[in-house]
């Protein structure tokens, strides 16, 4: 029961114990497979290697379940049948949190998979602990790499969020952005079109808020919206170069007030106890809300039979457009052998190829990660039929991403706590942000 956490901790320590007793040295045996010290793998392996030098099996950990997992499995099947010598084994590890915890435990035990899905914000931790593989050698490889045109075909904001100081540590995979969902009926009844600016949003929200309907909605963690408005005002959230939080600036206070004033005036609300906004929106309790584009299928489910809805790009401020792109990448760990890494790279390239990313996007609601994927006929007719998917890709040029630094989870926890304090009226916007910034900078040192 309540022991589950403790048990995990304990079993991790146990794994450590086993690893220590196992006698295998984790650093050796990686690249020098010929040296014959197969003490950790057993003797059969060497025999197999001689037989078919290129036969490799790689594990791919992910956090996709249900229809998403089926889709991944079909990609894997396609890849496996196209590559005789490579067998990719997809392993569903549960939720993103579960996946992260399992990676942590596997890293400690020294048996990481070759490939995994990973949230971009956690990659710096993996870099710092030195178990993730830089990808430049593969990308630049003349045989299996990416040409300049191919590399440029990756959507800019994703390509940039996969690099740290010019080194690639990931390829984008299940990516999403923020879009504005609106209730067509409520807006039309009041003579409004979908909002384009924050002024529009406020205006509509003021008018349509009545009885049981609240005009505007935010997810519980609306730090994405805060960041977007802050960016539109020209402010900085966290400086990636110096790892310094700067969001308590004048711009920061103004950006937060823009959101908080609407909540205080009760023309906007957060998801609150409902965890996600899709349910209240689907019931018709809120007229608009900003959420993740990956939530489109959830909204569709919640709204079915209740309301007519659509999506629009997130609102602009004084003509400035800016929206946060986030999501998951594919990463390679460095405990695998060279042949495995090569095979893994081929699979990464395959998963992010235009056809696959288009198919993935149509099935899952994540964004296509290649420009050319959007031009595929199939994709275009899909978007024609499902125009709620337009808003996401329309915002590529206005896209930016949260600073990817070590300790970003700590900063997020601090921020969520201080946001609560502000929202509950225990602190003013300025106090809350200043406290959050001070605490963030203290931990980021």
């Amino acid at each position: 029961m309540k022991k589950s956490l403790l048990l995990t901790l304990l079993s991790m320590c146990f794994i450590l114990l086993l690893a220590a007793c196992g006698g295998g040295n984790p650093e050796g045996g990686e690249d020098n497979s010929e040296s014959g010290e197969g003490n950790s793998k057993g003797g059969e392996d060497t025999a197999a290697e001689n037989e078919a030098a290129e036969e490799v099996e790689i594990e791919f950990w992910h956090a996709m379940s249900g229809p998403h997992e089926e889709q991944i499995n079909s990609f894997v099947d396609q890849f496996n049948s196209e590559h005789e010598n490579i067998t990719v084994k997809p392993v569903n590890q549960g939720s993103y949190d579960d996946l992260e915890q399992k990676i942590m435990a596997a890293a400690k035990a020294g048996n990481l998979p070759t490939l995994s899905q990973a949230v971009t914000s956690v990659i710096p931790e993996y870099m710092n602990n030195d178990f993730i593989m830089p990808l430049n050698d593969f990308i630049e490889d003349s045989e299996i790499g990416l040409s300049d045109e191919e590399l440029d075909d990756y959507v800019d904001v994703f390509r940039e969020s996969s690099q740290w100081d010019g080194t690639y540590y990931s390829l984008p995979f299940s990516k999403s952005t923020r879009v504005l969902f609106y209730n067509k009926e409520i807006l039309e009844d009041n003579g409004f079109e979908a909002p384009e600016t924050w002024d529009d949003v406020r205006n509509i929200a003021e008018t349509v808020t009545k009885d049981n309907v609240v005009g505007m909605g935010f997810e519980n963690s609306y730090e994405s919206e805060f960041q977007a408005v802050l960016n539109q005002m020209g402010g900085t959230f966290i400086d990636e170069e110096t790892s310094e939080a700067q969001f308590a600036s004048e711009n920061g206070v103004e950006a937060m007030s823009l959101i908080m004033d609407m909540i205080d005036e009760e023309i906007a609300r957060t998801a609150g106890e409902e965890d996600y906004m899709s349910n209240p929106f689907g019931r018709g309790d809120v007229a608009m809300y900003i959420g993740s584009s990956a939530g489109i299928p959830h909204v569709a489910g919640a709204a079915e039979g209740n309301i007519e809805w659509g999506t629009a790009p997130t609102p602009t401020l004084d003509g400035e457009a800016a929206t946060v792109f986030a999501g998951n990448d594919i990463i390679m760990f460095n405990q695998a052998e060279t042949a495995e890494q090569k095979a893994a790279w081929k699979f990464m390239k395959f998963l992010t190829s235009p056809e696959i990313t288009a198919a993935w996007s149509m099935e899952s609601g994540y964004l296509p990660v290649r420009y050319s994927a959007q031009e595929l006929e199939e994709y275009q007719s899909f978007v024609e039929e499902n125009d709620e998917y337009k808003a996401g890709t329309e915002q590529f040029d206005a896209g930016f991403f949260t600073a990817r630094i070590q300790g970003s989870n700590k900063v997020r926890n601090i921020l969520l706590e201080e946001f609560d304090n502000i929202q509950l009226g225990q602190k003013t916007v300025k106090e809350g942000l200043t406290d959050a910034q001070d605490r963030a900078n203290e931990t980021l040192q």
């Binding site: 304990l10 114990l17 915890q101 609560d420």
Partner: protein, 297 residues
């Protein structure tokens, strides 16, 4: 009955104990020692198991961290809120279930059900009961003219909500233990007391309670230890957050945050160790008090 222990009998017993002992050592004792050692790591490479510097800084940091203080206080509030009410309620229900009523098996099953249901399922159901607009609880309170309460989003009510859920969830286990204890009491005592004309209340205070004291002692120790370790309920009820504005942050939740979310391995180990000490002291105090009031026939 019992003969003197010999080397042979000790060895034989040891063999029987060995499997359980091994598991305990590997999964409990070793990790406790290891995490105690880890709580002194200051500069270290967790994944490669290299330690460059040791010290007590983690503990100093803990007691200067307002969130840890808050977590400790919240944990105490939780224990004080849950344990007494839970014991009184479950004893009352156990007495009722121990009497001659119809559909006894049905009632016993009903009360035990929450205990065997997954915490996540329970929390999902309760998050609807606690819902401010659509929840049952506010609906009932409305009958008495009480305004809707934001159980899950108001820091004042988040802890009471968690306590209510935990009491309900833990009742079944306590009831079963109390029932077993009650059925162990020899009926002849009661017959004798009835002959002497003792009232039902007198029989309860002067016979049932003292004769039930070993069970009571067991239940209170287990409940308090479990109370200090609360985590799952919070995680599930508040959807992976320690309540609004950290209002239900407990020590174990703090450990979870530090270890899994923030990669502060040694700090998490230090916090876990502090919790261990707290629980240890409480159990010792209970043992001492127990010696005075518990009668083993």
């Amino acid at each position: 009955m019992m003969s003197e222990p010999t080397w042979k009998s000790t060895f034989k017993a040891f063999l029987y104990l060995l499997p359980a002992l091994l598991i305990l050592i590997i999964f409990n004792i070793y990790p406790i020692i290891k995490s105690f050692l880890m709580s002194f790591y200051i500069d270290f490479d967790y994944f490669n198991n290299v330690v460059y510097e040791r010290g007590v800084r983690n503990f100093i940091h803990l007691f200067q961290d307002p969130n840890f203080i808050k977590a400790t206080l919240n944990t105490f509030i939780f224990v004080v809120g849950v344990v007494p009410i839970s014991i009184i309620l479950s004893l009352t229900i156990a007495l009722f279930l121990n009497s001659k009523i119809k559909f006894l098996g049905f009632f016993r099953t009903i009360y035990f059900l929450p205990f065997v249901t997954s915490v996540v399922a329970v929390a999902i159901v309760w998050s609807w009961i606690f819902h401010s607009d659509y929840g049952l609880l506010n609906y009932f309170l409305g009958w008495f003219g009480i305004d809707p309460i934001n159980w899950l989003t108001d820091p004042t009510y988040a802890m009471p909500a968690l306590i209510i859920l935990s009491i309900w969830k833990g009742l079944g286990f306590n009831i079963i233990i109390f029932l077993a204890g009650l059925q162990n009491i020899n009926q002849q005592y009661y017959l004798a007391a009835q002959v002497d004309g003792a009232s039902a209340w007198r029989r309860f205070t002067n016979m049932t309670l003292p004769l039930l004291s070993p069970t009571m002692f067991f239940v209170s120790i287990i409940s308090i230890i479990n109370g200090f370790k609360v985590f799952d309920e919070i995680f599930a009820l508040f959807n992976g957050k320690p309540g609004p504005a950290n209002s239900t942050l407990t020590v174990v939740y703090y450990v979870y945050q530090k270890f899994y979310e923030e990669y502060e391995f040694s700090l998490a180990a230090a916090a876990a160790f502090v919790l261990f000490i707290i629980v240890f002291i409480f159990t010792l105090v209970q043992l001492i008090i127990g010696k005075k009031f518990v009668h083993y026939d």
